[in-house]
């Protein structure tokens, strides 16, 4: 049960959140200008790294805020911004 830092509500139990997948995959500015391959890259291709990963979470059972955290996928430690200091606990 991870402790996830909501920017509004502070650290809360993982069960209050919904996972939102990889962060920083912006909706293309001009989707109609993209080739099928480029559009498919936006739709379907996501990173799945072992180690640090920027990902989105939604505090669904709380304030409904969407936000980004960096998590080490091997340890579930969560880091803030560019720091290597874990924020939870």
């Amino acid at each position: 049960m991870m402790l996830i830092p909501c920017p509004w509500c502070g650290p809360r139990n993982e069960t209050e959140f919904h996972y939102g997948g990889q962060a920083d995959v912006p909706y293309p500015a001009e989707p109609q200008e993209l080739s099928d391959v480029e559009w498919a890259r936006f739709l379907f291709y996501r990173a799945n790294p072992k180690g640090l990963f920027s990902e989105r979470w939604n505090h669904q059972a709380g304030c409904r805020r969407w936000f980004t955290v960096r998590r080490d996928t091997t340890t579930n430690e969560i880091f803030q911004d560019d720091s290597h200091e874990a924020v939870t606990r």
């Binding site: 049960m1 991870m2 402790l3 139990n13 993982e14 919904h18 939102g20 912006p26 909706y27 989707p31 109609q32 993209l34 099928d36 559009w39 498919a40 936006f42 739709l43 379907f44 989105r56 939604n58 669904q60 409904r64 805020r65 969407w66 340890t75 579930n76 430690e77 874990a86 939870t88 606990r89």
Partner: protein, 946 residues
């Protein structure tokens, strides 16, 4: 009660409180403070059941949760399968029976109550032996919020099973003093009989508290979030592998010592101790002093330590060094042990002597209980020094001390525990110094001699050299696995099942690694050990469920009119968490006849339905129109105030995921509806786009589902009924056109009335504040009584909409269906620059001509309804597999209006096949079905204005 096996005095049992219990049909007596195992031993009962594979008699082998053998089924007071007799606290009225390795579920429901509790603390100490108590004391004195939990009924850990002294007084005094201080400290929670069984991310630990059989709540699950954790979970003694090592009467040496000191029980009268280390000597000496004859201490080491040699000589206990037990005899209980000099090389051992005994003590060293450390993702390493796994790298905020860290002298356990407790408290911001600890006379512990397999034994003896007693797995099984080419301990575990029983390999895990290492000719460190996973000890499902069972399993959402529906005794359909009336049977009606009647009423007269469960989201802000244009496939900015439009929502991949109506209530305000089950998901999804992609849009979203109770009034007579309860709304078709809304008064209450129809008939949706829902429902029902107004449920709604070809998202779609596949291109704007899903409509895959289309199906008029999910095939006879599938039926009903069965289906190139016959595969038959347009009834839409 003192007898042959119960000492006249001593032990921590309460001799003033005898306890009667039954085991395997016999009446016995024990004392308060006994476990079931200690009470059985006190009555001379060693054998508890038979083994799972070979049916061999098995006895009590330990005194704690590591017990591999003594599984019992509890019959009374509450039925529970597969508990270890060594952890069942004895109480009056206990009825238990032995088990051949496998439990049986009770047929009666468990009437006991189970609870859950959440807790937060600065420092959680797991284990209340010398290290845990010292840690808790240091942390508690700093003012930190401390929880200390221990599986046992009383604190003290290993001290309870010995006669050790602390500060030159019995250790019990120190335990009592520390426990009393902890109990008296306001910020400390003291939890005996509480097993911490799981250690999860970010120091989230879960424990089960056994509160006793006569308490209000039998067991309670603790969910603890701790800032710092001190693990003082102790260690488990390891048995030894030798032929016949499973006979009842074979017991871990330390456990025998516990039975003497803690329970005043003699586990036998004449014992042989077989050991690789010092701890069996302590057991032999203590048992001797308590009156057990010690036939010999058999030590595989060439030389015994001076200290223990001296103590044995004092007592006349024979020590046989460089010797091993290479066989046992006896039927239901061990009666003798064969002793051989430890063979060198491959030469077979020669039995030098056979010693009579009724108790065989074994000790192969001690395994630190690294389970929780490892569950928390700490790493372990094999220590050559203690021949066991010890914690290596710890996760942040987790400290392991005492025997769990491989520290085996009481003095060191106390010192390191005290330091860990203060360090943990300091890490959470408290000014903590290590508490002073008492002096302990216990000397240094000499390391065991690594002994996994006795050399020189013939392969025949493999079959009764047991590695995992609980699984009846032997050296022969391991040899077979290794012979098959396996070298990974994880593979061998799964092949042999070693370590997979209720005890999860507490005694057998590392032992099997050692045996594997010997067979492979490698170091134990290279073999390693299998992963430690929660739960540390078995947990009853009832304890995990707590009160979240039955009606409390999941939240139940009901509408304002729910009591009325209940009074009609209608069955309910679960839609998400909502309870929706399914149909309203009249006396004697089944579902089919009720639904036909309800459908007929709506098509010819008037019906009413509670549609309050539809999701409703209030969308407000200057950019609301722009926002909705981006998330719906059609254009909502052109919708005029007062009007309503149907809308489809697609994900960016172009697949439909929800639909509903959009009502413009003001220039900058819309009320949108969603499917009943999809409301939360739609809101989350809208928030996602608003917050992360278009934060510049000034829009706010509010869920208002439960603000409005909504009643659908449908049928050609619906206008007549509504007219009777409203005077300020002009209901004429031209004044109040289809797909518009108006505010007015209905049955004396402010209402928002919409002309929306999901049946194709003239229909009104009346929205009133939730509080007035029941009242307005009653008024409408009353107003329509002379017209036989008919309440209808979700089934009738589904039939009526299917007759009109209206899809249900999630039933007729499955996340792979575009608006065009549904034949709803009319709901996709061609005038917008972009909206979610738009780009995907021109992907190569979405423009394929053989995509599945939503079409209608007509089975023969006199046939039965073809089941939903039926696969459709091309030919009237099945070809050889693989049979190409054309699609499947998504909705299928009998139509009252058409007087025949009909269906909707997703069919490859379906719209190009209209008029063709395909076949539905039902059971072993193929039913011909004709493909049609999806609209079966009132294709022209003439009925919507009445």
């Amino acid at each position: 009660m003192t007898g042959e096996y119960r000492l006249a005095e001593g032990g921590r049992i309460n001799r003033d409180r005898p306890v009667r219990f039954r085991f395997d049909g016999h009446e016995y007596e024990g004392f308060d403070g006994d476990t079931l195992a200690s009470a059985l031993l006190a009555n001379g009962v060693h054998q508890v059941g038979t083994s799972i594979r070979y049916g061999r008699p098995r006895g009590i082998a330990s005194a704690g949760p590591e017990e591999p053998n003594a599984l019992v089924q509890i019959e009374e007071p509450f039925p529970e399968p597969m508990l270890t007799a060594t952890t069942v606290a004895l109480h009056d009225g206990l009825v238990a029976s032995s088990l051949p390795g496998q439990g049986r579920l009770a047929t009666d429901p468990d009437p006991a109550r189970y609870d859950a509790i959440n807790a937060h603390c600065d420092v959680l100490v797991v284990g209340a032996g010398p290290a845990g108590l010292a840690a808790a004391l240091s942390a508690a004195r700093s003012g930190a919020r401390v929880i200390i939990a221990d599986s046992d009924t009383e604190f003290g850990g290993s001290l309870l099973g010995s006669d050790e002294e602390l500060d030159h007084a019995p250790a019990g005094r120190w335990i009592d003093r520390v426990t009393a201080e902890l109990r008296a400290t306001p910020e400390v929670t003291v939890l005996p009989r509480t097993t911490v069984f799981g250690c999860y991310d970010d120091n989230y630990l879960v424990a089960v508290e056994h509160r006793g059989e006569d308490t209000f709540t039998r067991q309670r699950t603790w969910h603890v979030r701790a800032r710092e954790v001190v693990l003082a979970t102790g260690s488990h003694e390891r048995p030894l592998v030798f032929p016949g090592n499973d006979r009842p009467g074979t017991m871990l040496a330390g456990s025998a010592r516990t039975y003497v000191h803690r329970y005043g029980v003699l586990p036998g009268h004449r014992a042989v101790a077989f050991t690789t280390n010092d701890s069996a000597y302590a057991a032999a000496v203590d048992l001797h002093d308590a009156g057990v004859e010690i036939a010999a201490v058999v030590d595989v080491r060439p030389v015994a330590t001076t200290l223990w040699t001296a103590r044995c000589v004092e007592r006349g206990i024979q020590i046989l060094t460089n010797c091993a037990v290479t066989g046992t005899s006896g039927t239901d209980r061990v009666s003798g042990a064969q002793i051989s000099p430890v063979p060198s090389g491959d030469s077979a051992p020669t039995v030098a002597s056979e010693l009579d005994c009724d108790l065989l003590l074994v000790s192969g060293g001690w395994n630190p209980a690294v389970h929780l450390h490892s569950q928390a993702r700490g790493t372990v390493r094999y220590s050559e020094e203690i021949c066991a796994l010890v914690p290596d790298r710890a996760t942040r905020g987790v400290r392991t001390v005492g025997a769990a860290a491989g520290t085996f002298t009481t003095g060191e356990c106390l010192r390191t525990g005290s330091e860990a407790g203060s360090a943990a408290a300091r890490a959470t911001g408290f000014d903590a110094d290590p508490a002073e600890v008492p002096s302990s006379p216990s000397g240094p512990v000499t390391p065991p001699q690594p002994t996994w397999l006795l050399p020189g034994l013939s392969a025949d003896s493999d079959h009764d050299q047991f590695v995992d007693l609980a699984r009846d797995a032997t050296v022969a099984d391991v040899r077979k696995a290794v012979g098959a080419g396996m070298s990974s301990v994880e593979h061998i575990k799964r092949f042999t099942t070693i370590g997979t029983a209720h005890d999860q390999g507490k005694t057998s895990g590392l032992l099997s690694s050692g045996v594997i290492a010997e067979l492979l000719g490698v170091e134990v460190a290279q073999v390693g050990a299998t992963t430690f996973r929660p739960p540390y000890a078995p947990v009853a499902f009832a304890a995990l469920a707590g009160r979240d069972r039955g009606d409390l399993y999941d939240p139940i959402r009901v509408t304002a009119m729910h009591d009325w529906h209940l009074a009609q005794q209608c069955p309910f359909e679960n839609v998400g968490q909502w309870k929706r009336p399914w149909y309203y049977p009249r006396p004697g009606e089944d579902m089919d006849s009720a639904v036909l009647r309800e459908c007929h009423a709506v098509r010819t007269g008037v019906g009413m339905q509670d549609v309050s469960t539809l999701g409703k989201i209030d969308v407000q802000g200057p950019d609301a129109a722009e926002f909705l244009d981006l998330v719906y496939t059609n254009k909502m900015s052109t919708l005029k105030v007062g009007r309503i439009r149907y809308g489809l929502m697609c994900h960016a991949d172009g697949m439909v995921f929800d639909d509903g109506t959009v009502m413009r209530t003001d220039e900058h305000r819309y009320l949108i509806s969603t499917t009943s089950g999809g409301a939360a998901g739609v809101l989350e999804w809208l928030e996602d786009w608003l917050q992360t992609e278009w934060p510049h849009l000034r829009v706010h979203l509010t869920s208002v589902t439960e603000h409005w109770a909504t009643i659908a009034l449908a049928g050609p007579r619906s206008r007549d009924v509504l007219a009777r309860v409203t005077s300020d709304i002009d209901l004429a078709a031209d004044a109040f056109p289809f797909m518009s809304w108006t505010d007015g008064t209905v049955a004396g209450r402010a209402a928002r009335v919409c002309r929306i129809s999901f049946s194709g008939e003239l229909a009104f949706e009346i929205n009133v504040p939730w509080w007035h829902g029941r009242e307005v429902w009653d008024a409408l029902y009353e107003a329509g009584s002379d017209l036989d107004i008919t309440p209808y449920g979700t089934e009738t709604m589904h039939v009526l909409r299917a007759e009109k070809g209206f899809p249900i998202v999630g039933q007729d779609t499955d996340g792979t269906v575009t608006p065009h596949d549904l034949g709803m291109s009319w709901a996709v704007s061609k005038k917008k620059d972009d909206f979610l899903g738009m780009r995907s409509f021109s992907r190569a895959d979405t423009v394929r001509s053989d995509r599945k289309h939503l079409v209608g199906l007509l089975p023969p008029a006199d046939s039965a309804v073809v089941p939903e999910g039926t696969q459709l095939v091309e030919l009237s006879e099945l070809p050889e597999p693989p049979v190409p599938m054309l699609g499947h039926i998504t909705s299928s009903y009998r139509s009252a209006a058409l007087d025949r069965p009909f269906a909707l289906a997703l069919v490859k190139s379906g719209r190009d096949r209209i008029g063709q016959t395909v076949y539905g595969h039902v059971g072993d038959r193929l039913v011909p079905v004709e493909i049609t347009e999806p609209v079966f009834y009132d294709k022209e839409g003439n009925r919507r204005d009445g």
